[in-house]
Structure formats: structure tokens, C-alpha cells
């Protein structure tokens, strides 16, 4: 394994204050505490890795650091002095540059124009094209990329080259701290090597890098120190990469900080019960390899794996939200048309999607409309809605699921994550669906509400619903499911009853090949 040239850590920080210190950063959104006291310390000339699952708060933290969001509490120090970044410009001025996952380049402008976009080299309003081009060449050369023509339009470049242009743009601002948000997501392995070379070169020149990724093997190669976020809080800071085992990192990212209470498996679903959901050879090329499984009434099937292993994609495809390239899905023996969500819903399938706000809810609409949206037929005669019946049904649901605060006319936006999730669940409960698909059902849900959701899911299964649960949290999958499929890199690598697996085994399976 290659360790960066900057390892062991340079002694530069001894005595001097760290380049960046964030202490107790708080960020609230309506109904949600996105960051609940996050610490981050970055020193000059180090690669500091920020780890955490989707929704852990990494992006929010970066936006606070880059001036896009204002924190509701906590302190930011830059070289020991307290600072605030009221705008992104303020952050850029002290020397913080951020390269987001979606590169913010203008495709139709040239490389040079993109590098100096917003701070064009100019005299009396006229751009100095010659000087800009030669400065652009210098910046690209500083990263060892003289091959990129500075007059080419950025849209014609490969994603890897575009990323280099983004970095050149950052460097054109005299950057001292470079934030890379999942830089490897768009790159193939050769390009990643190249990216690492560039990063190491920059670190050797004294630039600090915050590197965000959930590919642990990359962090091994490029990182000096690691901070881990989970559910909006720091669970570990300043771990030295070389001394922290991978399994420990996964445990920190996915692991419980508090013991969750799982309801007991009340009854074993009888082995000869007919399967409600049958998935045969379902495949979506480029996302996951063919999978075959079935779920019986009363059974909870767990899909374990890291983010990006293809679990959500399998669930979305079997729900019809993505088109399958091959394979069939049958519900109660009836084949479902490819790519039709409406047919699934009509057949009694429901999905609580991974991104609750963008995929699950009509945020500005009332709790009541969100609950009844999939059941409107039941409350209508000849197309006319019976509002009173709708509200009564919604109120029954919110009371039995204990949605707080009570009141079905409240906009769903004002509810906390856990209560929003209950609203999505209530939608499918009301529909009395036969197959319930849950994608990360407890993400952004507090501990108390988690237990309620687990109890509810188990109770549903006991009433005869077939449930599929996707979760990155190993103990959630193990604690909640009857049977577990483990996925890695788009393929199912293991299937076993949950009682026959323990956490360590599953961690090994999801991570196979990585050093323990």
C-alpha cells in the first residue's frame, strides 16, 4: 500500500495553531438538526478525510465551511483567529476553495475562461486574454497537467480533466485549504491515481486538503487523518489513518452509539408460505448484476451493503422507478410491467424512499394530503374527494403511529425527520399494502422514533406484509430482518438467515478484500 509522501505528518503544526478549527458547529433546518455539534481540525499540508454515510452531515458541514450556510452555533477559527464566512466569497478570500461533486464549470466556456470566471484578469474592464492563458497554463503545469489545452471548451474535456480545471480554478484563488467532495465518484481507477498524484503535489506545496469519500480504500491511500460524522455529530476526530483498522472505521460510520431496541421475531414465517414478492434475474446493467430472491408474507428481508453497493438501485428497480434491463418481478404471482410504479402500487407495493424529502413527501402539503395521496380513490366518489373522511383516516393513522406534533393540517415540512418518516409509512399503512419496501427507514431519525419504527415494521410483518429493508447500518439489518442478502459492488455475495450472521461477519462480507 502506498502512503502519501506527507506521511508521517509534517511537524509544521507543532506550536502553531492549526490552519482550521471548527468547534461545536450547529446547523438547524426546519424540524431537523442537521449538525449537532461537529468538530473538525485541519492542519496545513495534510489530507484530512471526512467520512460518513449519506445524510451524516458532510455536505452541510462543507457548506458551512465554504460560506454557503450560516451555522446556528459553534466557532470557526482560521490560524487561531475566530472568523465568520457570511458569503462564499468571504471563504474564498481567506483561502478556502471547494470543489463540489457536481462540477460547477460552464461547459461552453474555455478552460482559461472557466479558471478565471468571476475574477477575470482585466484592465479597465477589458479581459487580458494573453496573460490569463499563460497564468492558466502555469496553474495546470503546477498540477502536472500541461496536456490540457487552455483554449478548449470545458464541455469537450473528460470528467477527469474537468476536475483538474476545477482544481486549477481553486488554485487561482491562492488556496490554502482545498475541499474535495467525493472527487473520485466520476473517475476510473487510472484517473483516481492521477488525482492522488495531484493532491500529493499540492500537499507538498503546503496546501491542506479536506477529502470526502466513502471509498475506504482511497482514504487509506491518500489520507493522513480522519474525522467521522454520523447523524450530524462527530463520532471520531483526528484518527491517524495508518493506525485505524478499516473495520473500526466502518463501525464508526455505521455503528450504533446507543443500543437500539429491536422487537423480537415473534413468529417464524412458515417456509411453505407462498412468496408475495418474487424477483427473478432482475438486472440493471451498470448498476447491479442479476438478482433473484423472494419474500414471503410476514417475512422481513434485509439488504445489507455499503452505500453504492447497489441496494437502493435494486429496490428502486423492482418498484418500477427505474427500468430493468432484464428480469421479472412478480407480486402475488402476477408479473409487473417493467418501469411502471403505478402498476406496483395498484398491486399493493409501497416504497419509503431513501431521500424522504425529495422523493417521499410533498413538503408544503398537509400531513393529511401526504398520507392519503396513494389512497385517493378510497376517499372519492366519481372523482370528488370526501375531505372529512380523508382527514379522519389521516388522523387515525397519525394517532396510532404517534406522529408529533398532532394535527393533520400542519405542513409536513414542519415535522422532524422521524415524524416525516412516520407520515410516509402511514401512507402505505393506509393503503394496506402487501409488500413494503423501506430504503434507509431510519436515516435522520432520532433514537426514540427509531424504536417505534422498528416495532411498527415488525408488527406489519406479523400482520402478513412482506417487507424489504435496505440499510447501511449493519446492526439495523441484522436486528430487524428475518433473512439477509449482502451486496457488494452491484452483486449479491451472501444470503443467510439473520440469526446465523453476526455483525463482524457482515462487515467482512460488505468489505471483502479490504484489510481488516
Amino acid at each position: 500500500m502506498t502512503i502519501g509522501p506527507n506521511d508521517p505528518s509534517p511537524p509544521a503544526y507543532e506550536g502553531a495553531p492549526p490552519l482550521l478549527e471548527m468547534r461545536g458547529i450547529l446547523k438547524r433546518f426546519p424540524g431537523v438538526l442537521a449538525l449537532g455539534g461537529v468538530d473538525l481540525t485541519v492542519r496545513a499540508a495534510e489530507v484530512h478525510c471526512l467520512l460518513g454515510q449519506n445524510g451524516a452531515g458532510k455536505s452541510t458541514l462543507i457548506k458551512v465551511l465554504s460560506g454557503s450556510y450560516q451555522p446556528d452555533g459553534g466557532e470557526i477559527r482560521w490560524e487561531g483567529r475566530p472568523v465568520t464566512f457570511p458569503t462564499p466569497i468571504a471563504a474564498i478570500k481567506v483561502g478556502i476553495s471547494t470543489i463540489y461533486q457536481e462540477l460547477d464549470l460552464v461547459a461552453d466556456l474555455s478552460v482559461t475562461e472557466n479558471i478565471f470566471l468571476g475574477h477575470e484578469l482585466s484592465t479597465a474592464g477589458f479581459t487580458q486574454r494573453g496573460r490569463a492563458s499563460s497564468r492558466a497554463r502555469e496553474l495546470l503545469a503546477r498540477m502536472g497537467h500541461t496536456g490540457i489545452g487552455v483554449h478548449r471548451s470545458v464541455g469537450s474535456l473528460s470528467p477527469a480533466s474537468q476536475q483538474i480545471v476545477s482544481m486549477a480554478r481553486a488554485l487561482s484563488h491562492d488556496t490554502r485549504l482545498l475541499i474535495l467532495d467525493e472527487p473520485s465518484a466520476v473517475l476510473d481507477s487510472g484517473e483516481v491515481e492521477n488525482l492522488f498524484r495531484v493532491v500529493r503535489g499540492l500537499v507538498a506545496q503546503g496546501v491542506a486538503v479536506v477529502y470526502i469519500s466513502h471509498r475506504l480504500e482511497e482514504i487509506r491511500q491518500i489520507g493522513d487523518r480522519i474525522s467521522v460524522l454520523k447523524d450530524g455529530s462527530s463520532v471520531a476526530t483526528d484518527l491517524p489513518v495508518s493506525e485505524t483498522p478499516t473495520r473500526e472505521l466502518i463501525r464508526l460510520m455505521t455503528g450504533r452509539s446507543i443500543e437500539y431496541v429491536f422487537p423480537p421475531r415473534t413468529q417464524e414465517p412458515s417456509a411453505d408460505a407462498a412468496p408475495v414478492l418474487e424477483v427473478v434475474g432482475l438486472e440493471r446493467k451498470g448498476l447491479f448484476e442479476p438478482v433473484t430472491f423472494s419474500v414471503r408474507a410476514g417475512e422481513i428481508l434485509g439488504l445489507a451493503g455499503l452505500v453504492g453497493a447497489g441496494r437502493s438501485e435494486v429496490v428502486e428497480t423492482l418498484y418500477g422507478a427505474r427500468r430493468a434491463t432484464a428480469g421479472t418481478v412478480r407480486v402475488n404471482g402476477r408479473a409487473m410491467p417493467n418501469g411502471s410504479v403505478a402498476a406496483r402500487v395498484a398491486a399493493g407495493v409501497g416504497l419509503c424512499p431513501e431521500e424522504r424529502k425529495s422523493q417521499g413527501l410533498l413538503l408544503d402539503e398537509s400531513v393529511s394530503s401526504n398520507i392519503t395521496i396513494s389512497t385517493l380513490q378510497r376517499f372519492s366518489k366519481a372523482g370528488f374527494l370526501d375531505h372529512a373522511a380523508e382527514r379522519v383516516a389521516a388522523r387515525e393513522m397519525t394517532e396510532s403511529l404517534d406522529v408529533r406534533p398532532a394535527g393533520v393540517d400542519r405542513a409536513v415540512r414542519t415535522l422532524s425527520g422521524g415524524n416525516q418518516q412516520k407520515v410516509v409509512l402511514a401512507r402505505w399503512l393506509l393503503r394496506e399494502c402487501k409488500v413494503l419496501l423501506l430504503d434507509e427507514p431510519t436515516r435522520g431519525v432520532d433514537i426514540g422514533a427509531r424504536t417505534e419504527i422498528y416495532t411498527l415494521v415488525r408488527a406489519l410483518a406479523d400482520s402478513g406484509v412482506a417487507v424489504v429493508v435496505v440499510s447501511s447500518e449493519v446492526e439495523e439489518v441484522l436486528g430487524l430482518s428475518d433473512r439477509v442478502l449482502v451486496m457488494r459492488e452491484g452483486a449479491v455475495v451472501h444470503e443467510a438467515p439473520a440469526s446465523a450472521l453476526d455483525e463482524a461477519q457482515v462487515l467482512d462480507l460488505v468489505m471483502e478484500g479490504a484489510p481488516a
Binding site: V345, G360, L362, H387, D409, R410, L429
Partner: protein, 354 residues
Amino acid sequence: MSEPETAVVGRATPSPGAQPPSARPTRTSDRDGGGIAHLLRTAAGRNLGLVVALVVLCIAGVVTGGDRFADLNNVLTILRLAAVIGVVSVGLTFVITGGGIDLSVGAIVALSSVWCTTLATQTLANNGTWLVMVFAALAVGAACGLVNGVLVAYGRIVPFIATLAMLAGARGLAEIISNRRTQIVNVPAFVSVLDADVLGIPVLVILFAVVAAIGWVVLNRTTFGRRTVAVGGNPEAARLAGIRVQRHTMYLYVLLGLCCGVAALMLVARTTTGSSTHGTLYELDAIAAVVIGGTLLSGGRGTIVGTVLGVLIFTTLSNVFTLNNLSISAQSVVKGLIIVAAVLLQQRLAARKT
């Protein structure tokens, strides 16, 4: 209704009757804040604001125009003018609430008006029934809407472009069919029915009232309306909830096309002509009325009452200006200012909400 599912949760399910049925808190009653800003955030409050604006305009009309403004005939003129654009605006409220836009409404009105007044159509109408003309206008409107809907929903062309193409195409077709000549209506039955008064109220105004009432019921009291709001508010969530988003989007454009057909009939009756220049710039007037009415251009919230008030405000404004011999150009400037002010107000209220 859903007893088995609620029962498994293991909590007592209180009888729904325990809640006083009269307890119908308004949607925003639990929000903090107060004063005018708070009032304007509620649907009723926003409509009240529009009513106040309309009353102010009327006072301005009485002060500057005196009896000429307050005259019953003048009021009926305002209403007759408002009726045609109003019917289009009601349909457009659905499309915009559903997350779309339609620039082709004026062109569809023109094409429908031309098609239902061709010599062939009128001959048929005179030989049979004047309803032939009604059928022709509605069928042409719905067909244009269907093309828009298919292009937007299934062809995945952004609505702005798809309907821009329809704007050009439909008006061009209207010019070809009419040979750019104004087609006079020679079907007495048609005119005598549609351009008549019932109990002193013009049939056009009654039609507008009926369309607006149907629109309100459909948007607020039917599954179709609820789905429209869902599709416009969050199409992805709507799709994952099992709504056929594409099909629904298509229906919205067909509905608007039908409204354009009705508007064309009203215009033909009022002017006793069909012409390829009918409905020019209706798209701007209709979008303006919908937006100042409080429907969000980004979709997900629509109000028929607001749209009707928006139409009345603009029509009354024109009337007041005309009575004071102010130019059409000055009217346009004031309209522009009103639109900007309304949207700025909307945005500030929306920003405070989040």
C-alpha cells in the same frame, strides 16, 4: 376503513368521533408570526389582499371616471372583457399548478375561432345545428392541448419550448385556413344564444362563472385536483406514490386546450368573427393574471379564486385607464409594475416560510 393495519400497531385507536367535527383549523393556524405578513401567507388572506386591490381600483375608477365607471353597462363591459381571458386563465391555473407553462393559449384561441367559422363549418351549422361550431372549437382546442401534452409529458420537451412551437404553428395554421381574412359569422342561432343576456347578465359572463366554479371544484375537491398539486409540487414523490405523472401532465394540457376552445367560442360570439389575430398576447395576460392571483409559477400551489381576481384586476385597470383616455402603452407599463410587485411579494412570503 383501515382497521386491521392500525390495530397491529398495538395502540388504542381512538374513535374519530372523539374529535369535534367542527374543528377545522386552517392550514397555517399553527404557525408563528402575525400581522399582515401572516395573513397574506394564508390562502384566504392572499385573496383578501387581491379584493382590497380590486376595491382600490374601483374607487380610483369612481373618483376619476365618476358615473361613466359606475355605470351598469360599463361594469358589464368589464365583465364581458374579463370573461374570455378568464376562461383561459382558469385552464392555465391548472397547467401552472401542475408545474408547466403554456405560451400557446392565444394561438389556440385563434385557430379554434378560425376553424369554427370556416365556410364549411358554418354551412354545416346552418344546415344542422349551431352546436357544430361549438364542437369544432372544442375539438380543435383539445387537439392542440393534446399535442402540447404529449410533447411535454412523453416527448420530454420543456413546456416553454413545446408550447412556443405550438404558438407559432397554431397561429400559422389559423392564417393558412382563414387566408388571413376575418371570417364573419352567419349563423344567427349561434350568436343569439352566446351573445345574449339572461336576466340582464351576459351569457359570456355566466359561462366564465361556470368555468371558474367548475375549475374551483376540480382543483380543490377532486382527486384530479389533488394529483395536480402533487405533480406540480414534487413530481418524483408523486411518481413514487403511484401517480401516473406523465398521463396526468398530458391531461392538464388537454384541459387547458378545451378552455381555449371555450374562450374562442366566446370571442367569436362577442365579435361575430373568427380571425387568426384573435387572442393575440393572451398568453401574457393569462400568465400575469394567474401569477398575481397567487399561483406559484414553480408549481405545487394554485388558486382559482386568485386567478379570477387577477383577471378582474387587470380588466378593471384597463377600463379605468381607457375611461381616463390614458394610452394602451401606459397600461402596459402599469401592468408590468403590478406583475413585478406581486411576484416580489410572493417570493418574500415564500422565503419567510422556510
